[in-house]
Structure formats: C-alpha cells, structure tokens
C-alpha cells in the first residue's frame, strides 16, 4: 500500500542520499519504510566526539503532520535524553513542523549533542553534572562514547559490557 506518509518518506530518503548531511546517516529498514535506523556521529569539539550513536525513528501514517518517535538505541548520557533513549527536543514535540524531514531531525539531534539544554532535563544527573561539574560530565560522556563502539550486535555488546570493569 502506498500512502502519503510512505511516499514522503521515500522523498526524505532520496534527499538524505542526494544531499547527505555531515555526521549523520539513516535508512529505512528492509521491509518497513515506517521504521528507520540512523547513526549520529558525535560532533567534533564536544565530549561526544568519535561516538557512533544509533537511533530508531518510528513514523506513523500521520507523518509529516505528526513527528516520528525518535529514540537512542545506543546508551546515552545527555541532559536531554531519558534513560530509555527517548529524546526531549522541542521540535519532536510541541514545536514540530510538517516541513521537517529525516535529514532535519537527525541534524537537530546532532546539534542537541553540541548544545544541551540543562533547563529542561530528561536526565537529572547529566544536567546537574553539565552545570556544576563539567569534568565529571565529560568523563561520563566519554564512557558512553566508548560503549557506542561496542554495541554492534546485541550479543557482543552484552558480553563486552559484562567484561568491562565498573
């Protein structure tokens, strides 16, 4: 079945391929265009640098009139990311506009890594460290950067996590 949402997502995918933004990539899953996998590379000059953070985007038939549900699959330590990977970002909630596409969503999340907003925290510990103890914040972020390289396959990542000293 071809719907408006699916056709729009094909356009999003084409734009992402024709005009790929720096440091992000994304593609629909093989058998479901409503479910996308994406990777955001940690931006330079941030503690997230060199991290490869995986996300999923789940679209509904109401797209682009409703935003997709975007979630980090990789473990994240960021003032605006919930423990379950959910993202607190205004353009994915009350400031959504139907003019956004996958490319815009991914680059917005990338810039959120650059500029966290500690005033609307989704992770209180991260927000507090970001405000009060940058050194510890950066240390904690660097830990999840290293973990981001490990979770290539779920089995492997569990193994590696268990092996890692606390």
């Amino acid at each position: 079945m071809t719907t408006t949402a699916r056709r729009r997502l094909m356009r999003d995918f084409k734009r992402l391929q024709d005009d790929p933004p720096v440091g992000v990539s994304g593609a629909p899953t093989d058998n479901n265009i409503m479910l996308w996998n994406a990777v955001i590379f940690g931006p330079h000059d941030t503690p997230f640098e060199d991290g490869t953070f995986k996300l999923t985007l789940v679209f509904t038939e109401e797209y682009p009139n409703k935003p997709p549900t975007v979630r980090f699959v990789s473990k994240m330590f960021h003032p605006n990311v919930y423990a379950d990977g959910g993202i607190c970002l205004d353009i994915l909630q009350n400031r959504w506009s139907p003019t956004y596409d996958v490319s815009a969503i991914l680059t917005s999340i990338q810039s959120l890594l650059h500029d966290p907003n500690p005033n609307s925290p989704a992770n209180n510990e991260a927000a507090q460290l970001f405000r009060e103890n940058k050194r510890e914040y950066e240390k904690r972020v660097q830990q999840i950067v290293q973990e981001s390289w490990l979770d290539d396959s779920d089995d492997e990542s569990e193994q590696n996590k268990n092996e890692e000293p606390k």
Binding site: T4, R7, R8, D12, P98
Partner: protein, 170 residues
C-alpha cells in the same frame, strides 16, 4: 565600443563584482574616454584588480579619484587624456540572468512542486482539484497539505506565524 584586451591578468578567474547603478568611464582602443551608463545592469564581471577596488568604493560613478580634472558628474568627459587616468577597465563582461515567469516552488510539506498535485492527490489519482493556498505571511503550500496540518496547529509551517489564508487558487 571595442575595449583593449592585452593584460595577462585577464586570464585569471574573474572577480564577481556587484556594481551600483551609475556611470563609469572606460578608455577605448583609441584612448578616448567613453562613459558607460550602468543604470540597468546588476552584475558585471570585472577583472582588473585596481578597477574593482575603485568600482567598489564608488557611489555610482567610477571616475578617477585622484585627478582634479576628472568629471564627477554623469556627463561624458571626452577631453581627458591618458595621464589623467588612474585605472583602465580592460575587459567588460556582462552577465544576464533569466528565469521563467512562473512559480516552480516545492511544497515544503509534501516536497512536491506546487505546480503538480500534492502527494495525497497523486496517490488518490485526483489531479484536477489540487490547488495552492497562500497565507498572509506569503508562504504557499498545497491546500490539501495545509488543511491536514492546521488540524494539528494553526501555524504556518515555515515561519510559525498564525495561519490566515490570503488566497486559494493556481
């Protein structure tokens, strides 16, 4: 007018200079000073570095600034000699721009040209009734796309201002 073309500098990539409307004076082959009215030109390729500097700093006229005899008005000054000349414009390329006098914008919601039907009408194979809507903010979308969006929020998706329909049509 034939212009002298002898400097090796001319083969270098041209500087793209925006000229303000006015008059500039150019020496031709016989070293007569000619005045070019550039009121109707927007963009000019200027290759002589010295001239570029002069043209940029001019307020509409590119006369030689140091010579007392130079004319500051827009009249033709034909009695100037080579001695008076601070710079010579040696090459003169005109660049014209054109575009079709029609809209070929893309609907920011469905990413389909506004000239075509919206994605939904394409899916439903209804090509006749798909019209364009303009808001008071002057942003335009397919009427179908916009009527779906304003069920969520009555804002222009591009400028976030409150959405008021200015007109609907083609």
């Amino acid at each position: 007018m034939s212009l002298i073309n002898e400097s090796p500098v001319l083969n270098e990539p041209s500087l793209y200079t925006k000229l303000v409307p006015g008059v500039i004076n150019v020496l031709d082959k016989d070293e007569n000073l000619n005045t070019i009215n550039i009121n109707n030109l927007n963009k000019v390729n200027s290759v002589n570095e010295g001239s570029t500097k002069e043209l940029k700093s001019s307020t509409g006229q590119a006369n030689c600034l140091d010579c007392p005899n130079s004319s500051k008005t827009s009249t033709v000054s034909s009695n100037s000699t080579k001695k008076d000349t601070v710079f010579t414009l040696k090459k003169w390329n005109l660049v014209a721009m054109w575009s079709w006098d029609v809209e070929c914008e893309v609907c920011a919601i469905c990413r389909t040209p506004l000239m075509d039907s919206c994605l939904k009408c394409q899916t439903d194979n209804k090509h006749e009734d798909c019209v364009v809507v303009w808001g008071e903010c002057n942003h335009s979308f397919h009427n179908c796309c916009m009527s779906q969006w304003i069920k969520s929020r009555n804002l222009c998706p591009l400028c976030q201002s409150e959405w008021h329909v200015q007109r609907i049509g083609r």
